[in-house]
């Protein structure tokens, strides 16, 4: 669960990126975050990850009060969140398998669990055949699916994706969002930032529109895919 209460962010440059935002995303929600460039969408995500702190207001994520959370407890927060970035951020010197397994090593998971969990997740995103490939041997869509597997592998409560389809073929975007929808149906909360209105219109769901630091629109909209 993510909750923003009167949250404002002012960067040291003086830019007001968020302006007294109130927002609640319940467990099991799927929400698109849309809005023009510079509106404050990425700022919202950085707050959730405690990459930055709110200038004022309270942010609560998966039971952590981020204002009170100590630096050395940040890893505990981040272990409840899976992240997907526009630029994939895979490690080029590691295979698909290693890129995913890496996450579990970092959190000191048992070797036996790693050996069973990683192939399972890679299979889930449909990349079993490419497990031994390196990122530069994969298409953009495939790389993003690896990133998705990496976000999933730790079985997080929340997955946040900042423009995950921004760097891939529009046709493949549907595939990625389809995967996210499937993951959401298993109970994981998903927050996805996107610029692609077609995609939002197609899938529907909760849509949060941010405009110059304010929430301009926050409603559940039916998707065109359900019309047929």
């Amino acid at each position: 669960m993510v909750e923003f209460k009167d949250v404002s962010v002012t960067y040291s440059s003086g830019v007001d990126a968020l302006n007294r935002v109130n927002l609640k995303i319940n467990d099991g929600d799927f929400a698109f975050v849309v809005g023009p460039s510079g509106a404050g969408k990425s700022t919202l995500i950085k707050l959730i990850l405690k990459e930055i702190d709110a200038t004022s207001g309270e942010v609560t994520v998966n039971g952590f009060n981020l204002r009170k959370l100590k630096r050395r407890k940040v890893p505990a927060l981040r272990r409840t969140i899976g992240v997907v970035f526009q630029d994939f951020r895979l490690i080029p010197t590691m295979t698909v398998y290693e890129n995913v397994a890496f996450v579990l090593r970092v959190i000191d998971a048992p070797a036996k669990y790693i050996r069973s969990r990683v192939p399972y997740v890679i299979n889930l995103v449909g990349l079993s055949k490419k497990a031994k490939s390196y990122p530069n041997e994969l298409s953009g869509g495939e790389q993003q699916r690896v990133a998705l597997a990496r976000a999933l592998v730790n079985d997080p409560q929340l997955i946040i994706a900042d423009e995950p389809t921004g760097n891939i073929d529009p046709a493949l975007s549907y595939e990625i969002v389809g995967l996210l929808k499937g993951i959401n149906e298993c109970g994981t909360t998903i927050l996805m930032v996107t610029h692609e209105h077609e995609l939002v219109r197609y899938f529907g769901g909760r849509i949060i529109n941010i405009n110059s630091g304010n929430i301009a629109f926050d409603e559940v909209v039916g998707g065109t895919n359900e019309d047929q």
């Binding site: 981040r78 951020r89 959190i107 000191d108």
Partner: protein, 301 residues
């Protein structure tokens, strides 16, 4: 932490060295040379100290006692001198013995000249050695106040030189050690910076998935420590050759030691364990500490 994690981290440390092999090699070389220089200067200091101690042990003060003391009075005086804290040994040197020695060292002509002198003009003396040569003057001054003492003579000039030589030695070797340790720390921390830079993507992702800072740091720590230990090994080998070279020259060709009557250099095998332990410990420590300087600020995400 699990064994598999520990293995993973150590493996990452080794991988870091290889990925960054140019910089690792550079810091290996710098550390090796530094350790070698530190080691050699400390060894030199230790040996000079030993030689100085040898000379100090040999440098005696002479206490001239009043003529015509009874044996009891003499024993009493000896006890009195011995009871001074700084006095190490007291040896009675009778005027007969002194006479004998003097005559022995004379040329034939002189001996002929003195043969018939039946009156021995030399005084009875005590030869004393002190524990702390810096305080020799105070000790002899104190002895002079004793009732049955005529006068004292101490090799003041020599002791002053030795004392200041020793002080210089400590300062000099201390300065070299500190300077080189700083150089090593800077070099290692720069190597780590490069290593962190080449792996910044990985570190960034690690931070996002909830790695603890310690987990991120350990591979760099290990990397620095391995380089330090390897450098220590290399330095140890070179020190052995260099030291033994010097040792052999002094041992074979120099009779100076025997002339001065002081002890020779320490043989390397007597020092080996100490040198090895200090090298490895210093190398590992510098390696580990050096890395922590530069990992700190790169970990903020």
């Amino acid at each position: 932490m699990k064994i598999s994690s520990a293995r993973y981290l150590i493996h990452q440390g080794f991988k870091g060295i290889w990925k960054n092999r140019m910089m690792s090699f550079a810091s290996f070389c710098i550390m090796l040379v530094s350790l070698l220089m530190v080691g050699m200067s400390v060894l030199m200091a230790i040996n000079l100290n030993r030689i100085i101690s040898g000379i100090e042990d040999k440098s005696e003060a002479v206490v001239q006692i009043k003529d015509g003391l009874s044996e009891a009075e003499r024993d009493e005086l000896e006890k009195q001198i011995k009871s001074i804290n700084n006095v190490h040994t007291v040896e009675f040197y009778s005027k007969e013995k002194a006479w004998e020695n003097m005559v022995k060292n004379m040329s034939k002509q002189q001996q002929d000249l003195f043969r018939y002198a039946d009156d021995n003009p030399l005084p009875d003396t005590f030869k004393i050695t002190v524990i702390n040569i810096q305080d020799m003057n105070e000790t002899t001054t104190l002895i002079e106040t004793f009732e049955n003492v005529e006068s004292t003579k101490s090799p003041t000039k020599l002791t002053d030189v030795l004392v200041s030589l020793r002080r210089l030695l400590v300062i000099l070797s201390g300065a070299i050690v500190i300077a080189l340790i700083i150089v090593c720390l800077i070099i290692i921390s720069n190597t780590t910076r490069a290593s962190v830079f080449t792996r910044r993507k990985e570190i960034n992702i690690m931070k996002y998935v909830g790695a603890k800072n310690s987990f991120i740091r350990i591979p760099f720590f290990i990397e620095g420590m391995i380089v330090g230990i390897l450098a220590a090994g290399g330095a140890l080998l070179l020190t052995k050759f260099a030291y033994e070279g010097v040792y052999n020259i002094f041992n074979d060709d120099f009779t100076l030691w025997t002339v001065l009557g002081v002890s020779n250099l320490y043989p390397f095998k007597d020092l080996f364990t100490k040198v090895a332990i200090s090298y490895v410990a210093t190398g590992a420590l510098i390696g580990a500490v050096g890395t922590s300087f530069s990992t700190g600020k790169h970990l903020k995400v």
